[in-house]
């Protein structure tokens, strides 16, 4: 194995550069190094101005999502040796405005996340000293969707989001489904009101790339299709049953 590898990184300073450009750096290629180690090596030894987000370096915080050779990945979970002999192309996540170098502006997602109401909604709150009992089977219903770390790799992978920035997108809808499936929650109807439209679940065309790139195996594509089935069933019920009956 070659002992060094070339990393091509997007550099962009909006105050100075008219456009993002690629800059190459050469870093040591250690067997145990991930792309994030290479970026830190560049920042520590080659160019201290390189800007990128990271925190936990163990696939939990969801900060270090970037395009690695064109595929959305967590920099902390992507081994350099898998790309030997290189070069490795590291770019900011697609479909988001670049703030600087590898850092993108995710405020659009945060705005959309609120549409999903990702919290437990109760019509009547239980008294504070009463528990919400949940069985392991009930937990299993939504556990997979609760693993989301908001890394937004699914947004970078989703062509529909790229084509139509109005689209609510994979993670936000999967999180809505996470609360819909929670036995303690009573907000499914409210969420349906804000997501059963062209910008919500019906905008998804089931490309399935979100599920492919998800580092936590959330399966947002599955969540959205299941949500569609629920929404369609609710629609049928509303058609067949008289008003008021549920």
């Amino acid at each position: 194995m070659a002992s060094r590898i070339t990393i091509e990184v997007t550099r962009y300073n909006p105050a100075r550069d008219p456009e993002p450009r690629m800059t190459s750096y050469e870093v040591p290629l250690h067997r145990e190094w991930v792309v994030l180690d290479a970026l830190n090596c560049i920042k520590d030894h080659l160019d201290g101005s390189l800007t990128f987000r990271w925190s936990c370096r163990m696939g939990v915080c969801g900060s270090c999502g970037m395009m690695i050779n064109g595929v959305p990945k967590l920099a902390c979970a992507t081994f350099l040796s898998d790309y030997a002999p290189g070069p490795v192309r590291v770019e900011p996540m697609r479909h988001f405005p670049i703030l600087r170098d590898l850092v993108v502006d995710t405020s659009d997602f945060l705005m959309k996340l609120a549409r999903s109401k990702p919290w437990i909604i109760r019509t009547v709150e239980k008294p504070a000293d009463e528990e919400h009992i949940q069985t392991p089977a009930q937990l299993e219903e939504y556990r997979q969707f609760s693993m989301c770390i908001n890394c937004l790799l699914c947004y970078a992978a989703c062509p529909i989001y790229g084509l139509d920035p109005q689209f609510t997108g994979p993670a936000a809808i999967a999180l809505a489904q996470r609360y819909n499936m929670d036995s303690r929650d009573e907000g499914a109807s409210e969420r349906l009101d804000s997501l059963s439209n062209r910008e919500g679940i019906w905008g998804c065309m089931f490309v399935g790339e979100c599920t492919q790139v998800c580092p936590k195996h959330v399966d947002p594509a599955g969540a959205i299709q299941q949500y569609k089935l629920t929404a369609a069933t609710e629609w049928l019920k509303a058609m067949v049953l008289p008003r008021g009956a549920k």
Binding site: P159, F206, G208, E209, A221, Q226
Partner: protein, 120 residues
Amino acid sequence: MSTYWWLARWSYLTFILREASSVFVGWTVLLTLVQIWALTHGPSANAAFHEWMRYPLMLGVNVIAFLFVLFHAVTWFGLTPKAMVIRVKGQRVPDWAISGPNYAAWVLVSLGVAWVVLRG
């Protein structure tokens, strides 16, 4: 995004091919309608229909249509378990346990239709 975004990745391309099958689904219905029309309009209409179906261009289009419809069927049954979650005793039934019977039903229905048509 570029108009040719779907060429950027293999998975995007298979997606757009899957969606393009819709054109050939429509085409197959059209063929069926023309055939029903021919059947109810006597021998000369039938002869014209058979001649039309034997044109090389027509056969070429139909072979392509067949491949697309086949692709639609394979992807459709393969994706059904993603949308339909069935739980038995709290455990999610594995994907193959849903798509497997789908594929089996497809083979049986196809054989059934072929039998009804071919038995003469």
